[in-house]
């Protein structure tokens, strides 16, 4: 047991190293000082107001939200359909398709980004918001497929067969039985897709058409000019959104589960 204090200290150090910068960003977002650095000179929301008044940032926010939501919807729909096919049906080439669907998270994002970009240039297709969206769908899809597949494997086929035998068509059986049973995983997959898309910078930098900025690319652009305290505020908002959403999701899942097993 003698090694424990050391391990504990080490653990604390690692976590501090990881989370201290995040805490500093959040803290400085409320700093009244106009240089966005220590020392704190007072509590203020002025940088959040400045954010709200900065058109470029508001536009980037809207772009990110739209992109994230659409990515989540498309990825989740495709992911659920793909998982159903992979888990419930047998067809030739099933294993290769399964690998292909998961591949985007195995390939480094830069490689994927460059490859897709070169491919589009080869075909002479101009960049567009739609292609950016498709790019996000490609690399969020594996997460949805992995999460939904794992859940679907645990839901016995018997339920669907029972529903079918009682008169439900395949589609009715899906919406009445299968979907409610895998819903927690579908929601989790959707949240994953949203937060990954919302956070993404590598792929987005390569794929975005001129004039379109998402929040991460906007921050990146702002950093090249100066370190404005607005960036701290923007960072704080991003952190709240990307950690808050999954937490809400978990809460909802717990609540619906407890309602059933009261």
């Amino acid at each position: 047991m003698r090694g424990w204090p050391l391990i504990r200290a080490w653990t604390i150090l690692v976590y501090t190293f990881m989370f201290l910068p995040v805490a500093v960003v959040i803290l400085l977002a409320f700093n009244a000082n106009q240089f966005g650095a220590f020392p704190m000179t007072g509590f203020s929301l002025r940088w959040f107001v400045a954010l709200w008044e900065n058109d470029a940032i508001v536009r980037a926010f809207q772009t990110s939200l739209t992109l994230g939501l659409m990515t989540a919807i498309i990825s989740t729909t495709l992911g659920v359909l793909a998982s159903l096919a992979l888990v419930r049906y047998d067809f030739p080439g099933k294993n290769s398709i399964s690998t292909l669907l998961i591949a985007p998270i195995l390939v480094p994002e830069v490689v994927l980004a460059v490859a897709l970009l070169l491919f589009l240039q080869m075909l002479n297709i101009p960049k567009s918001f739609f292609l950016l969206l498709m790019g996000h769908v490609i690399f969020t899809l594996p997460f949805v497929v992995l999460v939904v597949q794992a859940r679907l494997v645990a839901v016995k086929k018997d339920y669907e067969e029972a529903a079918r035998s009682l008169g439900a068509s395949p589609i009715q059986a899906f919406f009445q039985i299968t979907l409610p049973l895998i819903l927690p995983a579908v929601m989790a997959g959707g949240l994953f897709a949203f937060t990954i898309s919302f956070d993404d910078i590598t792929g987005t930098l390569f794929w975005k058409p001129g004039g379109v900025e998402t929040v991460p690319t906007q921050i990146f652009a702002m950093l090249r000019n100066s370190i404005s305290p607005e960036i701290n505020a923007l960072g704080a908002v991003m952190i709240m959104l990307t950690t808050g959403l999954p937490l809400i999701g978990i809460g909802v899942a717990r609540w619906s589960a407890s309602r059933r097993n009261k």
Binding site: E161, A162, S165, L166, G167, A168, Q172, R260
Partner: protein, 373 residues
């Protein structure tokens, strides 16, 4: 009452509910069910019985529409249903796992099938109530499946399957997840409900006790083929093959030679016991060949003192008790008669024998079955 009406009614009562016409099921190169023919009478209780892997579930799932037969036709009430999707077949299925929908209440579970039928809301209430009363769980409507015991879930699964008034009720080992006592109660109750409703039922089990107790007809299967179809009495007392004889209860199989076959009697020579005669009704496959096997249930072979008087008609031989198993109400003896090893299950009320004792073994030839080689 005019005669023709009665005739018409009889025809309906005796009609066939399900016909399996040469159905085959292959999984890749493996044949799970070989050409299989079967007619299931309207309103009857038919059991598919056989060891694990013999194709019972596969056959049932083909009737249900959950599996497509590779070859052959399935007819329900005379209509070919091969291409009819499962949700249009109007069959009630009870799964071994019950498969109650965990996110729906018991009421919603039982009412599920009525949603897809032309039933008014008031009727749904009333039908669900009747079904839940039939399975003796009238007050569970608001609960969720996880709040019910295994036996209760089993009953609700049954209620859900019968509330839609199915043409055929299909059950795949529905009792196997219950403990022994509950299983015997449910066995009786299931049979009662089936008789009350008069619904044609196909029941799958590998438990011979269940099959014998519940069925009108038993189909004994082995390796994807039917070994015998018959009433419980038939398959038990007149096994059509060695496999059936061995699979149902404990049997003695003894080599015999056939001396002569008459119009209604067959004379045979059984080593140690001597000559005896059996009725031709005791020869399931018709003609007996020169050599054959005599099947005798262990309960039909009796032990008594060498000096005791034999019941009329019995044939006997001298044997030595090799081992004794006390089973509670009965005793199982392993007896050597010459080089033959025989099993006898006698009630405790009869004279008891110890290991190593000599005894006279005897049986009534009326109680055995002669199988050709």
């Amino acid at each position: 009452m005019p005669l023709p009406t009665i005739f018409a009614r009889d025809e309906i009562i005796m009609s066939t509910a399900v016909t399996l016409d040469n159905i085959v099921k292959r999984f890749g190169t493996f044949t799970a069910v070989h050409p299989l023919n079967l007619e299931i009478e309207q309103g009857s209780f038919l059991t598919l019985l056989g060891p694990s892997g013999c194709g019972k579930t596969t056959t049932l799932r083909m009737i249900a529409g959950l599996l497509d037969p590779t070859e052959g036709d399935i007819l329900v009430k005379g209509q070919r249903v091969n291409t009819v999707p499962i949700h249009k077949r109007n069959l009630g299925i009870v799964f071994q796992s019950y498969a109650l929908f965990p996110h729906k209440t018991i009421f919603e579970n039982v009412a599920f099938g009525l949603k897809y039928r032309d039933v008014s809301k008031a009727e749904v209430e009333q039908k669900v109530k009747a079904a839940m009363e039939l399975v003796q769980l009238p007050d569970m409507g608001d609960r969720y499946p996880t709040q019910l015991s295994g036996g209760q879930q089993q009953r609700i699964a049954l209620a859900r399957a019968i509330v839609i008034e199915p043409d055929v009720l299909l059950l795949d080992e529905p009792l196997s997840a219950l403990d022994a006592n509950l299983r015997e109660d449910m066995r009786v109750e299931l049979k009662n409900i089936q008789e009350k409703l008069g619904v044609t039922t196909v029941f799958v089990t590998h438990d011979q006790g269940e099959a014998l107790a519940m069925s009108d007809n038993i189909v004994v299967m082995r390796d994807g083929r039917i070994e015998q179809v018959g009433s419980p009495w038939d398959v038990y007392n007149r096994p059509a093959s060695e496999f059936v004889a061995q699979f149902l209860g404990a049997s003695n199989l003894m080599d015999v030679s056939v001396e002569g076959a008459g119009a209604d009697k067959v004379a045979i020579e059984l080593p140690h016991f001597g000559k005896l005669e059996v009725d031709t009704t005791q020869v399931p496959k018709g003609n007996a060949s020169q050599k054959g096997k005599l099947v005798l249930r262990a309960e039909k072979l009796q032990l008594s003192d060498a000096k005791a008087k034999l019941p009329a008609g019995h044939v006997s031989a001298k044997g030595t008790v090799e081992a004794v198993d006390y089973l509670g109400q009965s005793v199982r003896y392993f007896v050597h008669v010459g080089d033959q090893k025989l099993q006898a299950i006698n009630t405790v009320g009869q004279a008891l024998f110890n290991q190593g004792e000599a005894a006279q073994v005897h049986f009534d030839p009326q109680n055995c079955t002669l199988l050709g080689d």
